[in-house]
């Protein structure tokens, strides 16, 4: 379904969707973050990319898996805690972040479907915003099979046409959202369709960063496991978790028991994000650590994204959002690391 909505009517549309929990990027100091919309009057879609991607809504950093307790009779009880199935809409999802969710879908799908993830995922509609101008100077989606107006993973893609939005729905979830405010939407004219094409073509040209010959990287990395390259590249790494926590595709997690009472025992089993850059991530109880240093951990991060994931799911585990580059405390640049690896020894 392809429609056009005047910008002024945007808040009205949002108002019509009141039965949904709605998220929109909101400015907080110098950065943007997704928040629940409280007042639809003061919303707009003019924003840079958020610090954390919508991953944090679908796969929250903290999630209770189950509760456990012993009653007075010392009987142990466990209680499954699934997220509430609240119908939600996330507005303004950048195409790279939407694509990232199609990648975490692969991880949380497969033989064991992750019920916590899918409860949220299935009840959430993603309304994307095409990047007419790149929201970050480090955007490089074109190099990893993405595009600033890709529809992958989205239910609706909105494109800013100046005084109006072009909105295209690709799924039933998307159609439902448009149908709730039918009167506000018009069919696009031939000129508007042409404008859209023009904007899309131009948006690609505005992306400043790229990886050349990305395809050559996975086979090259396969032979670089034992290379001293990783020692050199990781010299300035400080072992923080920014690159992976901010990554829209990173999905690693930890499971811990949080006890609120020790006698009688009462508590929750909680899943939290975890991070392959932390030393204790892979450390065995014995103290043995298969990835003992930052070189091994940087290698894991790069290989996971550009070799292992490619072998497993035929996709890069990177959508080119540029967060890890922009926020790395010491300027480690994944584009540079990959290009150096591609050319290493040749």
């Amino acid at each position: 379904m392809e429609k056009v909505l005047s910008k002024k009517a945007f808040p009205q549309w949002v108002k019509k969707l009141e039965s949904y929990t709605m998220y929109l990027p909101r400015k907080d100091g110098d950065f943007w973050n997704y928040e629940v919309i409280k007042n639809p009057e003061i919303i707009d879609l003019d924003y840079l990319n958020t610090v954390l991607s919508p991953k944090k809504i679908i796969f929250p950093q903290r999630e209770v898996l189950l509760e456990f307790s012993t009653s007075n009779e010392e009987e142990l009880k466990i209680n499954e805690v699934l997220p509430e199935e609240a119908q939600s809409v996330i507005f303004g999802v950048r195409p790279c972040d939407a694509k990232a969710l199609t990648l975490t879908d692969k991880v949380f799908g497969g033989d064991f479907k992750d019920p916590y993830y899918w409860k949220r995922r299935n009840s959430t509609a993603l309304v994307g915003l095409a990047c007419n101008t790149p929201p970050s100077p480090n955007c490089f989606c074109l190099s990893v099979d993405g595009s600033p107006h890709s529809k992958e993973g989205l239910d609706i893609l909105i494109t800013d046409l100046g005084d109006k939005y072009h909105a295209e729905s690709f799924t039933k979830k998307g159609d439902d959202l448009l149908n709730l405010a039918k009167a506000l939407f018009k069919n696009p004219t031939a000129k508007e369709k042409k404008d859209l094409e023009k904007i899309q073509a131009e948006s690609k040209k505005k992306i400043q960063r790229q990886i050349k010959d990305t395809k050559k990287i996975p086979p090259k990395l396969k032979d670089m496991f034992d290379s001293p390259f990783w020692d050199e590249e990781s010299l300035s790494c400080i072992r923080c978790g920014i690159c992976t926590y901010l990554c829209p595709t990173c999905h690693c997690f930890d499971i811990n028991d949080e006890v609120t009472s020790s006698s009688p025992i009462k508590g929750e089993r909680v899943r939290t994000w975890d991070n392959c850059q932390f030393p204790d991530f892979t450390m065995h109880s014995s103290g043995h650590n298969p990835r003992p240093d930052k070189a091994a951990r940087l290698r894991q991060r790069i290989l996971h994204k550009f070799q292992y994931f490619v072998e497993l799911y035929k996709n890069y585990q990177c959508t080119g959002c540029g967060r890890c580059i922009s926020k790395c405390p010491v300027g480690i640049d994944i584009i540079e690391v990959l290009e150096k690896a591609r050319d290493y020894g040749s």
């Binding site: 923080c240 920014i242 580059i325 300027g331 640049d333």
Partner: protein, 343 residues
């Protein structure tokens, strides 16, 4: 004015003479305005060294890696590491010496004076430039920065785009060095704790609201810990395995280790982490401001450290990082330390 060529010459010479095993400095990166750390072994590569207002990093952080590496080597190279430091960074060296984390012979300090200015706050600059992209930032002749943008050069008074900590810096020049590049320019800082006033003057409940909002944002990426040259503990209460495990560590030891805080990034747990970080840096934080710069969520963590720096000064007349031979803040006391708060 600091002469970069002088720095390069010195660096090249000590490498050629074999005086140092390598030099940690700044070089241009592949992305953005900020440089990246350089680890230079070959005298030829000293050409890569840069010095400009974007050299924000406190490179003394990398002395931790050096030390860890050295303890693993059977026959370590005992030569010092050359390291480029600013005034604040040099105070970190003093603290590391004071705590005997390093020895004086472990480092060859290439001190660079910030003279009348300091380093850049990228965010302040971005606001000033209103969307224009800076390509290069250099020290100007009149305590200003020269910014190269797409449409030519702009001069901005350094004061307007300096990092907050530079505005409150007590010594713009290295206080310990083997070579000093630039001059020991004295500048009077009226109130080195001025930036704290805004929060301090809030009523307690407002202050609580402010900090709760900030600390709640924390995603526990631990970048503030990782970037800190003083956070060199092998064990940290914040980690799931919060101590060094060897094959000899017994199961009991591991099982009985207290889990001081949960991994969940909720207010109560985040506060424990940030309190521990702050208190552990009391009398040790040299205010390089790196913790705050790297925070992806813009949590003003520096204000926690700065507050304790202020209290150390006011209650105990303690200055951090000026004298490596002085006992540290919390391993010393005076008979007349204030005790009006004690019953």
């Amino acid at each position: 004015m600091v002469n970069l060529e002088e720095l390069k010459k010195e660096a090249s010479q000590i490498l050629k003479e074999g005086k140092v095993k390598y030099i940690i400095g700044f070089q241009r990166g592949s992305n953005g305005l900020l440089p990246v750390p350089a680890f230079i072994k070959n005298p030829k590569d000293v050409e890569k060294l840069v010095w400009d207002p974007t050299c924000v990093y406190n490179l003394t952080l990398f002395l931790q890696d050096e030390k860890r590496k050295k303890t693993k080597e059977k026959e370590p190279d005992e030569r010092p590491v050359g390291i480029v430091v600013k005034g604040c960074d040099s105070r970190a060296i003093n603290v590391l010496l004071q705590e005997e984390f390093i020895k004086r012979d472990d480092v060859y300090v290439l001190g660079v004076s910030c003279e009348n200015t300091g380093v850049l706050d990228e965010k302040k600059l971005a606001k000033k430039l209103k969307g224009k992209k800076a390509k290069k930032v250099e020290f100007g002749a009149n305590d200003d920065f020269v910014i190269t943008t797409e449409d030519g050069n702009i001069k901005i008074a350094a004061q307007e785009v300096l990092a907050e900590r530079c505005l409150e810096c007590k010594a713009h020049f290295p206080v310990i060095y083997d070579v000093l590049i630039g001059e020991k320019t004295k500048r009077n800082v009226e109130n080195p704790f001025k930036s704290l006033e805004k929060i301090e003057s809030l009523p307690p409940e407002e202050r609580w609201k402010f900090w709760k909002e900030q600390i709640e944002k924390c995603i526990r990426c631990y970048a503030c810990r990782s970037v800190c040259p003083m956070c060199y503990c092998d064990e940290c209460v914040a980690d799931t395995i919060n101590f060094v495990v060897t094959p000899d560590t017994s199961a009991e030891e591991k099982a009985q280790k207290i889990k001081w805080l949960e991994k969940s990034p909720v207010s109560s747990e985040n506060f424990v982490y940030h309190f521990v970080r702050a208190i552990h840096l009391a009398g040790r934080c040299i205010d390089c401001g790196e913790c705050e710069r790297v925070c992806p969520l813009d949590i003003p963590v520096r204000f926690l450290n700065k507050k304790l720096e202020k209290e150390a000064k006011e209650l105990f007349d303690y200055d951090v990082g000026f004298d490596p031979d002085k006992p540290s803040l919390v391993s010393s006391f005076k008979d007349d330390d204030p005790e009006d708060f004690i019953r």
